[in-house]
């Protein structure tokens, strides 16, 4: 049972973002820290990501998800951070009252001086992509199957079709193949895969699992359990090519069709959201539109590497601690606008008084491209642009001096290309 009612810092979510935040807060001397998670264990999504590829940047090692998590879990054990598991945060209000629920406390409200939102993300569903057909069992989002297989210990089916070639779809295609399933193929709506090349090779090529680009599932068949899917080709405008449909018999469909930052609690608190990233609008301090509420991890935008999530956790708490110590951070009133071929940029607002790291997500692949920030005269060559690989641009505050003097309030970031990367790979 929770004894305390007031905390200096409440961190909502005990995945990599939340854990990094908790550890950093402890190291910086924050006194009362509460870390909350809905699972009976810490780690967030990492314990079910049993594959390797984590920590290459931060630890220079090729770690599995659970190993990456365990490193932070061990660090937290050596702190006095209060950890509350099996607990769901139901609501946060503008005054930073946090309402949560668990078996021992029932529904309780506590007060926080500062909050870090690290709720991760959720998966796009069949319904949200308007997929027609019957409604049998056997249609899953990839993350749900990953949980079922790696944590609960059950295989979903035998003959598997994967829709979506993002990393989670590729990883699960391999996982199911290794467990003896017949993975029929991976179908991808776009003419390119948003997954890492490494995963295409090690998840598909290694196992001769076909990848069909510019194809999608257009209908589901099955009375009780999935029996087949209809696959159709799409053109460059993503319209179905007539007479291109064919049926594939299967009993399991994995949907890897996109991730959405989890923000129900942020919305309830009144935090402003960015419809481009799906997450809250933040400044260079990762502070949201509500003073004292900071955001990091997949709750802010969907990351590619957990290493960056950890870094953002540290940044968010560095800012939170400045906030707790009443250090005046400058008001952010310069808007950052996604320009050509840019899906979203974090942060969406800056003050112009500090260094900024722009995290830029491209919409389409591009070769021999360059990142351009016309308002401050910035240009950087980018040989290879992939939507699946976030672009980081550090802009020192000196570069922003001139811009501030101009009294303009908008900065645009473009990705311009000399050549379009297509299916000529």
């Amino acid at each position: 049972m929770l004894k305390e009612r007031n905390f200096d810092l409440v961190i909502v979510g005990g995945g990599p973002a939340g854990m990094a935040s908790a550890i950093r807060a402890y190291e910086l001397g924050v006194k009362n820290i509460l870390l909350v998670d809905r699972n009976p264990f810490l780690g967030g999504i990492l314990p079910q990501c049993i594959h390797s590829g984590f920590g290459l940047k931060i630890f220079k090692k090729d770690l599995t998800g659970p190993e990456y998590a365990q490193i932070f879990i061990n660090k937290i054990k050596s702190t006095n951070v209060d950890v509350m598991l099996d607990t769901i945060v139901l609501n946060i209000d503008r005054r930073k009252n946090v309402t949560f629920s668990n078996k021992n406390d029932g529904i309780k409200s506590i007060k926080a001086k500062a909050i870090v939102l690290a709720l991760g993300c959720r998966e796009r569903t069949r319904g949200s992509i308007n997929m027609p057909g019957d409604r049998p069992s056997g249609v899953f989002t990839a993350g749900l199957v990953q949980r079922m297989v790696n944590i609960e210990g059950y295989l979903p089916g035998e003959d598997v079709v994967v829709l979506g070639s993002g990393d989670i779809g590729l990883i699960m295609a391999r996982r199911l193949k290794l467990e003896g399933c017949n993975v029929i193929g991976v179908y991808e709506l776009m003419p390119f895969s948003s997954g890492l090349n490494r995963n295409i090779v090690q998840c598909l090529d290694d196992f001769n699992i076909p990848l069909m680009l510019s194809h999608t599932v257009t209908r589901i068949y099955g009375k009780r359990r999935l029996e087949a899917v209809e696959i159709s080709k799409v053109d460059k405008d993503l319209n179905i090519v007539p007479a291109s449909s064919f049926e594939v018999s299967c009993d399991t469909l994995l949907l890897s069709v996109g991730l959405i930052p989890e923000n129900e609690v942020s919305k309830a608190a009144g935090v402003e959201l960015d419809e481009n990233s799906g997450g809250p609008i933040v400044d260079e301090n990762l502070e949201s539109s509500i003073e004292g509420i900071f955001v990091c991890g997949n709750s802010l935008f969907v990351n590619d590497l957990v290493d960056n999530v950890t870094d953002d956790g540290y940044i968010a708490v560095d800012s939170a601690v400045r906030f707790l110590n009443n250090k005046d951070d400058y008001r952010r009133n310069i808007d950052i606008i996604p320009g050509k071929n840019v899906a979203y940029i974090i942060p969406q607002k800056i003050s112009g008084y500090s260094d900024v790291i722009f995290r830029i997500r491209a919409k389409f692949p591009a070769k021999n491209a360059y990142i351009e920030i016309p308002e401050i005269g910035f240009k950087r060559k980018e040989k290879f642009v992939l939507p699946g690989e976030l672009i980081f641009i550090k802009v020192g505050k000196e570069k922003l001096e001139g811009f501030k003097l101009s009294n303009k309030k908008i900065i645009t970031i473009n990705i311009k290309e000399s050549e379009r990367y297509g299916c000529d790979c």
Binding site: P47, I50, G65, P66, Q70, E152, L178
Partner: protein, 123 residues
């Protein structure tokens, strides 16, 4: 023996992902064509002759909070052996308490690699 093998591999060392053609005889690489730089040469050579992968899977564990424990190979394993290893590894039953890094099987199936635990499970 004395046969020259030609293989196409994808270098994944950097995002470009060059498609590289490798000619080799036995364990000796004779020719590499298609790479845009030298960074991935070592990887390309190994990928052609004896591609290796980190093996990860889960084993059954009888614990209060967990039914499965994630495990990994401590070093990359020959890709062609992976399916076989995973089939055999399932026979190992693990009991708590286990710590990340604990060796569950040493030199498994004479591959020279160990299977180790990826997380702590205490009870």
């Amino acid at each position: 023996m004395g046969v020259i093998v030609k293989k196409e591999v994808v270098c994944v060392v950097c995002p470009i992902g060059c498609m590289v053609s490798v000619d080799y005889k036995g364990n000796e690489v004779i020719q590499i064509i298609g790479n845009k730089c030298k960074k991935g040469v070592d990887f390309i050579k190994e990928e052609a002759i004896d591609p290796k992968r980190i093996l990860t899977t889960t084993l059954s564990i009888d614990s209060i909070n967990f039914r499965r424990i994630p495990v990994r190979s401590n070093k990359p394993v020959s890709r062609d052996k992976i399916l076989n290893i995973i089939r055999e590894i399932k026979k190992i039953k693990v009991k708590p308490a286990i710590k990340m890094g604990d060796v569950i099987a040493k030199n498994f199936m004479d591959t020279g690699i160990d299977i180790v635990a990826s997380m702590d499970i205490n009870e």
